[in-house]
Each structure stands twice: as structure tokens, then as C-alpha cells.
């Protein structure tokens, strides 16, 4: 009987160990996901029930007040959402362009200066001037502080992603293909755009998703550079809102009946509703993210 139940193959762990590991990871998984569920639950709880019972995993009294408010009077939130979307899309396209173009010559063994240019990029990971000179460059040398571009430009080049892309080129495009294209008379650019890039779609997707996440989740650039409430992105608006819900109204156009709005603000659930809105796109795109991140990390970890 005991023998019949031992269905596992050779070199597998014991049933008790297996159970223990499963139990451990069930707990870990709950710890990982519970806070997110709590925030979502608060966003659909009524203000009254929050004041009475505190934050609960299962709403005591269901209410969509927070979302109604966002739909009705959340112009500041929609504005920040729009800015986040713009910055993410434009930023990702531009930085993909910069990163993939920089990585390509470094992957070519025919290019003599590849080590020099690799080091030129790599050195920035070792030494930096610090926050102050960086801040002064973007306020005085290239005065784009407070514009929407300040949330895009500083992240255009990323050495880490560039190195991952270089590995992608090296492993997926054989040098012989490039050479035969050159012999057939295709120029460098033509070879690159019609032969190399189509072969590296997975690499483009991986680095593109890295960039997307980077831009969508960024709060540091607006925190350092943006003081104009009209140009807050979603993350920075959330930061301000966590300090005090009233800050949400700084960039709102409805200043005329401010006190009335403040009195009726479902402040507790509203905050969390904004958080849910900002997590939303990431959770929806999560299967994509996961697939390509694992691919990128595998390349970075094993071959890089």
C-alpha cells in the first residue's frame, strides 16, 4: 500500500518535504499579494465603514463613491494619468531607439572601437557626479525643468538595458548573415533595419518592457524637477495625495467650490482608488511583463 502511493520518480523530494515547501510558498504568496488586495478593498469601502472598522480586507459596506468622484470631478487625476501615459509611450519609443542603436555597433566584431564605447557606457555605472550637478545640468545647462520632457530625457540611455540588448544581438544574429547582406550590397542601415532588427523582436520586446516599467513607475524625476502641479505624473500625484488628500486639488480647475468638494471628499477610499488606477495597467499587462522579464533576466544572468 505504502509502495503504491509512492508515485514519484527517482530523485524527487519526499512527500513531507514537498508539503512543507508548498506550505511555505503559500504563506509567502499570501504575504506578497495581501497588501494589494487590502488597498483594492479599501477603495471600494464606504467612508463610514472605514471610520468605524478601519481598513478591512472585505469591505463592511460596499461603495463606489471614490470612483464616482474620480469620474465626476477627478480632472487632476485624469490629467496626471494622461501625462503618465504620454511619458511612458513617448519615453519608451525614444529610449528603445537610443538603446538599441547604441548596442548594435558594440555587438559587431568588425567594429574596432567596441571596447572603448562599451567602457564609455559602463564607466557611468561605476562613477557619477551625484544629485546636485545632475540637477544643475537640467535646470541651467538644458533648462527643461518643470516641462514634460524632464520626465523622459534623463532615462533615454540606460547602460544596463543596453548591455542586455547587446547580448541579444550577439546570440540571435550570426555575424555571417550580416556579412552576406553586406556582400549583397546592403548598407549598414539597411542591414540593421531589414535583417537584424526583425531577428531581435524578442529583445526589443524585453528592453521595451523594461523601459515601459521604468517610465510608468517613475516618481524620482518629478520629485526632483517638477514643481508645477499641472505637470505631475500619476506617481507624484499619489505621493502628494498620501501626504494630504487636499493636495489632490492643487492642480484641479474646480477652485470655485473648493470647500464644498473638500467636505464631501471620500478621502480614505479616494486615495486607495488612485493607487488602484495606477496599478491597473501593470496588473493587466502582467503576463506580458512576466514572460519578457524572465527572458531578459535569463539572458542577463546566464550569458551576461
Amino acid at each position: 500500500m505504502a509502495k503504491a502511493r509512492r508515485r514519484y520518480r527517482i530523485n524527487e523530494i519526499r512527500t513531507s518535504t514537498n508539503l512543507l515547501i508548498n506550505l511555505l510558498f503559500t504563506v509567502v504568496s499570501i504575504v506578497c499579494i495581501a497588501p494589494v488586495i487590502l488597498v483594492a478593498a479599501i477603495s471600494v469601502s464606504s467612508e463610514k465603514s472605514i471610520r468605524e472598522f478601519g481598513y478591512q480586507f472585505i469591505p463592511r459596506e460596499f461603495s463606489t463613491d471614490a470612483y464616482d468622484y474620480i469620474l465626476r470631478a477627478g480632472d487632476a487625476i485624469w490629467r496626471a494619468y494622461g501625462i503618465s501615459i504620454f511619458v511612458t509611450i513617448v519615453g519608451t519609443i525614444l529610449s528603445l531607439f537610443v538603446i538599441t542603436l547604441y548596442a548594435y555597433p558594440l555587438s559587431r566584431s568588425a567594429f574596432k572601437y567596441r571596447y572603448q564605447f562599451s567602457f564609455f557606457a559602463f564607466f557611468t555605472m561605476i562613477f557619477g557626479g551625484g544629485l546636485v550637478p545632475w540637477y544643475i545640468v537640467y535646470t541651467q545647462l538644458i533648462p527643461i525643468k518643470n516641462s514634460i520632457w524632464i520626465m523622459i530625457v534623463p532615462y533615454l540611455m540606460n547602460t544596463w538595458y543596453m548591455m542586455i540588448m547587446r547580448t541579444f544581438y550577439k546570440t540571435t544574429v550570426p555575424e555571417s548573415i550580416i556579412e552576406s547582406a553586406r556582400i549583397d550590397g546592403a548598407g549598414e542601415f539597411r542591414t540593421y533595419f531589414t535583417i537584424v532588427l526583425p531577428l531581435c523582436k524578442a529583445g526589443l520586446a524585453t528592453v521595451g518592457l523594461f523601459c515601459t516599467l521604468n517610465y510608468w513607475n517613475d516618481f524620482y524625476l518629478p520629485m526632483v524637477f517638477v514643481t508645477n502641479a499641472k505637470n505631475y505624473n500619476m506617481q507624484y500625484l499619489m505621493y502628494e495625495t498620501l501626504i494630504a488628500v487636499q493636495n489632490l486639488l492643487n492642480s484641479s480647475n474646480q477652485i470655485s467650490h473648493m470647500s464644498e468638494i473638500l467636505a464631501n471628499l471620500p478621502s480614505e477610499s479616494l486615495r486607495m482608488a488612485i493607487a488602484v488606477l495606477s496599478i491597473g495597467p501593470i496588473v493587466l499587462a502582467y503576463p506580458f511583463f512576466q514572460k519578457y522579464f524572465v527572458k531578459g533576466l535569463t539572458i542577463g544572468a546566464v550569458k551576461g
Binding site: 530523485n11 524527487e12 523530494i13 518535504t17 514537498n18 508548498n22 510558498f25 506578497c32 499579494i33 497588501p35 494589494v36 487590502l38 478601519g54 481598513y55 478591512q56 480586507f57 538603446i99 542603436l101 547604441y102 548594435y104 555597433p105 559587431r108 574596432k112 572601437y113 564605447f117 559602463f122 562613477f127 557619477g128 557626479g129 551625484g130 550637478p133 545632475w134 544643475i136 545640468v137 541651467q140 545647462l141 534623463p154 533615454l156 540611455m157 540593421y192 516599467l213 513607475n217 516618481f219 524620482y220 526632483v224 507624484y236 505621493y239 498620501l242 486615495r271 486607495m272 495606477s278 496599478i279 502582467y286 511583463f289 522579464f293 524572465v294 533576466l297 542577463g300 544572468a301 546566464v302
Partner: protein, 324 residues
């Protein structure tokens, strides 16, 4: 005659290797490097020259370069002022201790978890766990600060209201008691990054040839022996590289974790102030460029020395694992 020909051929060969020759024949490749190179110069190399700001009393004189040159030299005055503040020691200690903890735990826990995940018999469940623990990595520190707030808020927070109150324990003022924060910060750092590190190590483990394990188990090796004598040694290079990268950044703290998760609470500063948050506050909140640049330069220089030292040590032990 022969001699002349051969010498002209050899000069031609030398010329072929020259920079101008390369530029003429590979100009499209140089052109491709341009956008990235320009961004690196603006974003990284010009600020490196800006390190001199720390040795000056920086005043704005119309343009960036003019201000950089014209501002008055003050030598090490900024550093003297900075080192005299009680914060200098506090933030250095915090930065180093936290990062040290993160390095140790960020090595042991993910490797252990990755090994356990590969051993789980139900592969589909293993994939599910992997997906769930990877999720926190995709949330920004601002979102994490919301999650922390929902747990720790004084009045309505889940811990105070739903766990401590039913037990009859008085509510804890989480955002004004520094003694809890070392644990809270370490918890959230692990919460956000463990999944990511697990995925990295899992990738390395799955690339190990299964024949090693088959051979070992035929020879009668137990699971423990296989882990100690096959898995760990094969992960060693990756472990060293990732640890080395982290050691090199030991003077750089994760700004979002230390600034946003404690909601920049002044009362928590003894436990949460790190170099990065100090530099940010000095620049943005008190607008003290002297202090901010002194602290920033101190961080950059000491950090750079650490990377080189760490790399040198690894080079001595195992040349293959060194970064450069």
C-alpha cells in the same frame, strides 16, 4: 624597388587601423552610437565635472559653464561643515548597515527559495508561486508606500485596528517610533526584490545540465549532497557577480524605500536617514547646495573606491568572476 613596395603596403595596413579610416568606412556605426553617446555625455559625464561644485560656493552667473568657473573656490569648507553635522555619521551608518543586511538576506533567501521552487513536484504550482512573488517587483515605491500605509496607519491601519485592538494592545504610533523601522524597511525591501532575485537564480538553475543530477543520484547522492556539490558551486559565479554589484553600490541607498515608505517622517530620521535622502532634502527642502553637493561627492568617491576594491579582491580570488 621591392623594398619600397612592401613598405608602402605596410603603411597602408597601418593606416587601415587608424581612427580616421575607421570613421570613413564605418561611419554608419559611429552615427548609430551618437544618440546614446550624447545622452551619456549630458546625463553622466557633464555632471561628473560638476563634482567641482562641492569645492565651491556655487552661485548662478547666467549660464551653467560660467557659474561653474566663476563660483568662488572654498576648498574643503563644504565637507568640513557636512562632517560636523551629527547626520554625517548617522546616515553613513544607516546606509552601510541596511545595505549590508540587504546583501546578506538578498543572497541567502532568493537562492534558498529558487532551489526549493525547482524541487517542488507540481511544476504548475511552482510556476504560480513564481508569478505571485514576482509581482511586487512591478509596483513602484509610491505604491508600496500606500500598501505600507494601509497596514500601519495609526487610526485605521490594519495592524492597529484589526490585529492589535482585538488583542487589547494599545495602538502603536508606527510613523513616529524609529525602533520598529529597521525591521519594516528590511521587510519591504525583501518583499519588493526577493521575487526578482528568485527569477534570476531560477534561470541559472534551469540552465544546469540535468545529467549532473542524474549521475549523482545514480551514485547514491542525497538531495542535500546534490544541492551542496552541484547546484551551489554552479551558481557561485552568478552569486559573486550579483553580490559584487551590490557591494559596489553599498553607499547608494534605495531612495524610494527610505524616503517614501516612512512617508518622510521627521521623527523616524534616526532609523531612516540615508545619504540619498539627505542629499535630496538638502537640495530640495532646505536648498543648501553646499551641503548637498558635499554629501553627494562624498558618496560618489567612496562608492567608486568600494567598487574598485571589491573588484580587486574578486580578481585575486577568481579572475573569471571579476567585473572588469
Amino acid at each position: 624597388m621591392d623594398l619600397v613596395v612592401s613598405s608602402s603596403a605596410s603603411t597602408k595596413r597601418i593606416k587601415k587601423k587608424g581612427f580616421m579610416y575607421q570613421l570613413r568606412h564605418h561611419w554608419p556605426l559611429f552615427l548609430m552610437l551618437m544618440p546614446g553617446a550624447i545622452m551619456l555625455i549630458i546625463n553622466n559625464y557633464i555632471p561628473m565635472f560638476g563634482v567641482v561644485i562641492a569645492f565651491k560656493r556655487y552661485r548662478f552667473h547666467g549660464t551653467f559653464w560660467k557659474s561653474l568657473v566663476k563660483s568662488e573656490w572654498v576648498g574643503f569648507k563644504n565637507f568640513e561643515f557636512f562632517m560636523k553635522t551629527p547626520y554625517a555619521w548617522q546616515m553613513t551608518r544607516n546606509t552601510l548597515l541596511y545595505n549590508f543586511t540587504f546583501i546578506i538576506l538578498g543572497l541567502i533567501i532568493p537562492v534558498a527559495c529558487a532551489i526549493m521552487l525547482t524541487e517542488i513536484r507540481n511544476k504548475r504550482l511552482s510556476k504560480v508561486y513564481q508569478s505571485v512573488v514576482f509581482l511586487p517587483y512591478f509596483l513602484s515605491w509610491i505604491v508600496v508606500s500606500y500598501l505600507a500605509y494601509s497596514m500601519l496607519a495609526i487610526e485605521n491601519g490594519f495592524i492597529n485596528k484589526s490585529i492589535l485592538a482585538p488583542l487589547g494592545v494599545a495602538p502603536v504610533e508606527w510613523y513616529s517610533e524609529p525602533k520598529y523601522w529597521p525591521f519594516i524597511l528590511v521587510f519591504f525591501q525583501l518583499w519588493k526584490y526577493t521575487g526578482y532575485n528568485i527569477v534570476v537564480y531560477l534561470a541559472a538553475i534551469t540552465s544546469i545540465d540535468p545529467e549532473y543530477y542524474e549521475a549523482a543520484s545514480i551514485d547514491g547522492a542525497t538531495k542535500w549532497q546534490q544541492i551542496w556539490h552541484i547546484t551551489i558551486p554552479l551558481l557561485q559565479t552568478l552569486m559573486i557577480i550579483l553580490t559584487l554589484l551590490a557591494v559596489g553600490r553599498i553607499f547608494n541607498a534605495d531612495f524610494g524605500l527610505f524616503y517614501n515608505v516612512p512617508r518622510n517622517s521627521g521623527a523616524l530620521q534616526p532609523a531612516t536617514q540615508v545619504i540619498d535622502t539627505y542629499v535630496y532634502s538638502a537640495l530640495r527642502n532646505t536648498n543648501d547646495i553646499g551641503m548637498a553637493s558635499a554629501a553627494g561627492t562624498y558618496q560618489a568617491v567612496v562608492g567608486c573606491i568600494t567598487v574598485f576594491t571589491a573588484n580587486l579582491i574578486v580578481r585575486k580570488i577568481d579572475k573569471e568572476s571579476a567585473l572588469f
